[in-house]
Symmetry: C2
Subunit: 268 residues, 2 copies
Amino acid sequence: MENSVKTLVDEEDHVASGGCISQQFFASNSAQPKTNYCSQCGAHKTALCSKLSGEDLQKFGEKSTHKNFQPGQMLFNDGDEADCFFTVVSGEVRLSRMLDDGRRQITGFKAAGDFVGLTSNGLYSADAEAINDVVVCQFTVPVFEKTLEDYAAVQSRLMEMMQKEIIDMQNHMLLLGRKTPVEKIANFLVERVQKSTVQSEVSENNNTAEVFLPMSRTDIADFLGLTIETVSRTITKLRKLDVIELKSFQHIVILDFAELQFLADGDN
Amino acid sequence: MENSVKTLVDEEDHVASGGCISQQFFASNSAQPKTNYCSQCGAHKTALCSKLSGEDLQKFGEKSTHKNFQPGQMLFNDGDEADCFFTVVSGEVRLSRMLDDGRRQITGFKAAGDFVGLTSNGLYSADAEAINDVVVCQFTVPVFEKTLEDYAAVQSRLMEMMQKEIIDMQNHMLLLGRKTPVEKIANFLVERVQKSTVQSEVSENNNTAEVFLPMSRTDIADFLGLTIETVSRTITKLRKLDVIELKSFQHIVILDFAELQFLADGDN
DNA sequence: CGTCAAATTGATTCACTTCAAAGCACGTGG
DNA sequence: CCACGTGCTTTGAAGTGAATCAATTTGACG
């Protein structure tokens, strides 16, 4: 409510074609067809636009603008009139719903390629807040709606993404409703490893991996339906079991990935 | 796993046009244009096909078949190869995910008009089981996919429905992760009232309503992330607060809807 | 080196679970 | 018509694990 101040302030917009990838590429390849801007974007592989290429991708990209958010800055607030839809290009965003007394549930962490901005009757249905430095590729609502009609491939991709999101949420509901703290934390870490070969170095062979957690313990607690204390104690428990090791608060080494998966629960 | 025996057994199919609405209508209106079959269907108002009418609706309906399920019968099992997508016409279906040791989380109850059958890589992503006598309107996967391409209105409606589902699930995650038993049960009852003017008689004015619960206490527990005992005790608590009254196990009278909404939690 | 926020650890409480028994509705058969 | 069994719900008693409250440690930064 009160931190809505930070939302949608300044942050001059840039056309997507410009900000999407490193400027060096632009400079050293000025003769390249424009279609390469978006195709080189870190989010493209999994984003809305992943089914587009060539001229289509270029035209689609031109309808969007880039925008930066600082850690803690709101992309939008629950209940705000929706003016834009977003694709996360880099950084990570937390989506959450709050109760009046401040209890919070984080419903998801959104990273590169993820779509953010679902609405109900034109209003955003959750708070969206940057965890670290975030770059988004955004479309205004009217442009986006028009665009969906024109690009069947985008609409079909959006549907795929929503379908995956629903299934992920079903899994998370199982976690929230039925899993123990150890299972929750293990599950969380396993998901972080599986999601990102980006920030976490995986070496499946020798059964180890590294995870970087951009979010705070409070965020993890609010995501898993626990308190910070329980998150902390559970991490300690996993540490004492030699399943993980803490390089720092945010940097976790997984010493026994198989065991972690087992703890996360046979099923999955 | 083991009760997959019951899945997709016999149950001869009928063309949608026939089973969709009461036969009396068909009989007494044989001169009516065929487009009315589906338009009179109890599920049509909110279903996939809600944006279709006239000839389009008729043609769309002809691609589907009807099927009946008995209480406890599986529509499909988690992990099954998906051959059909469903719209619930009548009755109610529970969707759930299970852990190996039997812990279960019901992720949603699906009633008339609701779409069922989300898949991941062509496999169903949950168990779907009839709670009472259920009639569904089903499309085979290939037919459905072809149809989506032909009917933009259906695709757009499906997207709306998925969007609503995601938002509902966000709310449910807040409930699972952060609400107390009383809040959970109150929330559940409020939702049941709001969802169905069908089975529950609402009289907003004098602040009372009636709800019929087709599912068992175990189902409610598995939906809300509680034990049956806690569900039962909490219902008793609400009874002693004179917020509700039990006509029978499945038939609840809400004596003070405003208070129930308050207990479900200020926000919402 | 001191400050401050965040994370961890410790001690205690209590709400929900677990285990156990009783109540209730419904159907079957004598 | 009533005795009896079955399945589901409710109620009771006891145990426990996560929340709460409180203190300490850690790490980042000026």
